[in-house]
Symmetry: C2
Subunit: 154 residues, 2 copies
DNA sequence: CGATTTAGGACCGAACCGGTCCTGATTCCT
DNA sequence: AGGAATCAGGACCGGTTCGGTCCTAAATCG
């Protein structure tokens, strides 16, 4: 139901975990045990995050991963994109014509972008830094001024 | 990749279609041919939309469906919810404790709500009325002030 | 040179999605 | 009253994709 994949889900957990620790470098096993997730999965995800430029990686015996920049400059949108590909909840993405058989008929067309855009924006405005905050219960629970609050922090 | 189901996708198309026509009542076959989608699918979707209270239905030989209220008062969020269930892109939904094995460990917990909330809000602010507008290309394409524009339209 | 760690990708089972179909209930028309 | 049309509500099934595992390179440290 409008779900992202578990990879992305886990990815956010792992990134949050790394962001909220003092250490700079972590290896996969370390992160896995910390998160209580199977090691192979964690490995896979960290690889993808590194490939996406969100983590720096170091091979070799004392190798590992570290955030490639400060948590305030990493957004949830970026994490999801790195793991699940471009953020678009609809089948028609942006302007790739010809792919949609409904093209001449479809009454929505460009309007999908409204939706995708809205989602994308919402996720771009949540930073990893915010995710490490224990959450101020009064702020976000309802009314959703969470985004505004985030902007203030930024 | 953070996709909603095709049902919801189609649902939005169908609703937009109905909203942008003059007629009040449509039967399933009519809508299906108009949208260029297989009739059984359309039937299924309209049923769900009716059950969700977004369409009024009339049985019998001259029966059919019609929007249960004006398009400006129907949101994309409502359509998706009717077809795909509650809007939550993460595995952990709100406060249903015990379901998540990670509960004691998970460093994000309530922070998922931030994300889900953001998505929900974004989709609640897109009305069916807006979807019928051919889209003003300068407004939404980038910068995403689409939501603000929508608010102005009221 | 050997141990450790990431890189990259092949691979498989299971769950979920998309789509079809069938059987009832309701209403209109003759 | 009876038949036709239309919605209501499921059961059902095949295919795709996701979740997870595993194996083989490449790099780095001691």
């Amino acid at each position: 139901m409008i779900r992202m994949t578990k990879q992305a889900d886990y990815g956010i957990v792992l990134m949050t975990l790394m962001a909220s620790h003092q250490e700079q470098w972590f290896n996969a096993t370390e992160v896995a045990t910390e998160a209580g997730l199977p090691q192979p999965i964690v490995s896979k995800i960290l690889k993808l995050l590194a490939r996406g430029g969100l983590l720096s990686s170091q091979r070799g015996v004392k190798g590992g991963y570290s955030l490639s920049r400060e948590p305030a400059r990493i957004t949830v949108a970026q994490i999801i994109t790195a793991l699940d590909g471009p953020i678009a909840i609809t089948e028609c993405i942006d302007d790739s014509p010809g792919e949609c058989s409904q093209e001449p008929i479809c009454p929505v067309r460009g309007n999908w972008q409204r939706i995708n855009q809205a989602i994308r924006l919402a996720l771009e405005e949540i930073t990893l830094a915010e995710m490490t905050h224990p959450i101020a219960p009064g702020l976000v629970t309802l009314g959703g001024r969470g985004r505004a609050a985030g902007a203030e922090l930024g």
